[in-house]
């Protein structure tokens, strides 16, 4: 039984028409309706400047929305910060540390800022959090001497000081080495298995694809889509792919069999997936029967990246 079921909160984060216009007039988030189901690992995607961090700041009560409302763990934000935030761990726009304090003292300071954290267990909780992110041996080093990845880990440790129901991670793998990234993915999965909902913003799409159950895509402050990752990727349809040295024959045969959108590149022929009425096994049998030496036959699943690019466009420039 998950935490959500016990308290009857089925959505951990819910926003209605959430809007933020900065004082300069910049519309950073525009009418956001976001629903994060309990127990999900939720990927929050979007190009640079699309409003991800702004949304997270509003969810954490750091800035007031211009319009709309947000509830976190079933309580309105920012009104309920004092009751909600002890159950939320957050990493917002990179870690921020006291350079003149060592790693352990940084965590002690953040923990003592929480009036509902028990000081009697503080030392043990800090040690456990350091251990969890692999910083135990560097705990006595001044934070200003930490590398980017070590700082990121310490920031994560601060988010893990207490058992949390929701973890909000704004680009948590920024600056981490491949080993560190794997550890974060592993950590996220472990936390999710414990019933913690994880809200994860990232640019690394394959990372989102690997760990997330749900995702939302933002662009220029607007929500383009949200839902289970499988559905999103399915939105960009997969393609039939045949690997063969006899590409000419294969293309001709496939065309006769009704496959459209064919393209040939080196030893590969790809085409639109035929409708549900065509059995794929028959296609492959027909190819073999036609004397085509089939070395590979299958469906190339669309990646989340394809879906993302299809939604946000190929352009590289940041929208103003």
């Amino acid at each position: 039984m998950t935490a959500a079921m016990q308290t009857g909160v089925e959505t951990v984060i819910e926003t209605r028409g959430l809007t933020k216009r900065y004082r300069g007039g910049q519309l950073a988030v525009d009418g956001l309706d976001l629903t994060v189901p309990a127990g999900s690992v939720f990927g929050f995607l979007g190009p640079n400047g699309s409003g991800k961090t702004t949304t997270i700041r509003m969810l954490m009560g750091l800035i007031d929305p211009t319009a709309g409302s947000a509830t976190v763990l079933g309580r309105p934000m920012p009104r309920a910060v004092r009751t909600v935030l002890p159950q939320v761990g957050a990493l917002i726009e990179g870690p921020a540390l006291y350079g003149f304090l060592n790693g352990r003292d940084n965590l002690l300071r953040y923990d003592s800022a929480d009036p509902s954290a028990d000081p009697r267990t503080r030392g043990a909780r800090v040690a456990a959090a350091l251990d969890r992110v692999g910083l135990t041996s560097a705990a006595g080093k001044k934070a200003k001497a930490y590398s980017l990845g070590m700082k990121q880990r310490l920031g994560l440790a601060a988010a893990l000081l207490r058992p949390r129901r929701l973890l909000v991670l704004d680009e948590p793998t920024n600056g981490l080495d491949p080993q560190g990234m794997r550890e974060i993915r592993w950590l996220v999965r472990e936390l999710a298995a414990d019933g913690t909902t994880v809200f994860l913003s990232s640019h690394l799409l394959d990372e989102i694809e690997q760990v997330c159950t749900h995702a939302a895509v933002m662009a220029q402050g607007r929500l383009l889509t949200q839902g289970p990752v499988a559905d999103l990727a399915a939105g960009a349809r997969g393609r039939l792919a045949v690997v063969t040295p006899d590409t000419g024959d294969a293309a001709r045969l496939l065309k006769e069999l009704g496959v459209t959108g064919l393209s040939v590149e080196q030893d590969r022929v790809t085409g639109e997936l035929p409708g549900a009425d065509v059995e794929l096994a028959e296609l492959s049998a027909a190819l073999v029967h036609g004397g085509v030496r089939v070395r590979g036959f299958g469906i190339e699943r669309a990646s989340l990246e394809d879906a993302f690019v299809a939604l946000t466009g190929e352009g590289f420039d940041v929208a103003g």
């Binding site: 016990q6 009560g61 750091l62 920012p78 004092r82 304090l101 009036p115 028990d118 043990a124 129901r165």
Partner: protein
């Protein structure tokens, strides 16, 4: 405009807490000490947080402030002032002549130091109160919020969640405690230097009467407390400035700049109409505590004026900070 924050202990919250505790128990992962912690935490959560836990933030504020090398350097300067005064007086009087032979008018109490080292405490406080002490407080108070904002640590304190009002109170309380620490550093250093270089003994008050050395020490302690309290106004002013900007350096510079401006205004005779409303105006009234009997008039005026500054700038800081967007 200020935000409304829900208070803890509401009905719905009780449920949430209990769930948190259940989660904690369910979260089993490997190592022994972790499990033990979680269980302890769960038990603690069930009993509910103690109101005393809130003091943790104040303690953390004060120790964090005192662990910055900048703070230590400022305290070092403060501690050096009595040493310099003591040595200067010692050198000038080594030929047996009284202080102030040259006709110069030094800080109050200087002339008595050679007879009684305890007077170095009063002389040092009188010398540091106009500039050094308030400058130190201005740096610490100005950096309080703005410094955390510029390093980004403010957002993590707020999502901890420290609570905006609570954080502001903790910051102010820690700054006031630091006022006392800074004053005691001056007084302590002065007492040590005074005892080392000069004789100690019965104290002759400004009114000419004699009190015992023990009574003199008590007076010195009282003076230190009053001097520390005199700094409450600039502490509140600095905290307010600190909520206005996201740059710690800018806030410190503004606060110290304001202090110097006000000190200058206080010396311009044409502006005597506004003098009674300037926060440093009655600062040196602490000398009245060395009279027999004590003249409380101006001391009370000073403390009252500090109270007004604390109320005005404290509310302004609160109104500003609780409504502010934290984007750094």
């Amino acid at each position: 405009m200020s935000r409304v924050e829900e208070v803890e202990g509401a009905g719905a919250n009780g449920t949430a807490d209990a769930t948190g505790a259940a989660d904690a128990n369910a979260t089993a992962d490997g190592t022994g000490p972790v499990d033990a912690t979680r269980t302890a935490d769960a038990a603690g959560t069930l009993r509910g947080p103690s109101p005393l836990w809130t003091l943790g933030l104040f303690r953390s504020e004060l120790t964090t402030t005192l662990r910055r090398w900048r703070t230590l350097a400022l305290l070092g300067v403060l501690a050096a002032v009595p040493v310099l005064i003591g040595i200067a007086v010692k050198i000038e009087t080594s030929d047996g002549g009284p202080v102030g032979d040259g006709g110069g008018q030094g800080p109050a109490f200087i002339t008595q130091i050679t007879n009684n080292g305890l007077f170095l405490v009063f002389a040092a406080l009188a010398a540091t109160l106009p500039v050094f002490l308030p400058m130190t407080i201005g740096v610490v108070a100005g950096d309080a919020i703005a410094g955390e904002a510029s390093s980004g640590t403010l957002r993590y304190l707020l999502v901890a969640p420290a609570g905006r009002t609570r954080l502001l109170f903790a910051k102010y309380a820690a700054t006031c405690a630091f006022c006392l620490v800074a004053t005691l550093v001056v007084a302590g250093s002065a007492l040590a230097v005074g005892a080392l270089l000069f004789p100690l003994g019965d104290v002759v008050t400004i009114s000419g009467t004699r009190i015992s050395f023990g009574d003199g020490l008590l007076r010195a302690a009282l003076v230190a407390v009053v001097v520390a309290a005199s700094l409450a106004g600039i502490a509140a002013l600095g905290l307010f400035v600190s909520t206005l900007t996201g740059s710690g350096i800018a806030a410190m510079a503004t606060t110290v700049g304001l202090l110097i401006t006000v000190q200058i205004l206080d010396t311009i005779p044409q502006l005597h109409g506004i003098h009674p409303y300037l926060f440093p105006h009655y600062w040196l009234s602490f000398a009245d505590l060395m009279r027999e009997p004590v003249h409380w008039d101006e001391v009370v005026k000073n403390l009252g004026l500090q109270g007004v500054y604390v109320a005005v700038f404290g509310s302004a800081a609160w109104a500003r900070f609780t409504a502010k967007d934290i984007t750094a």
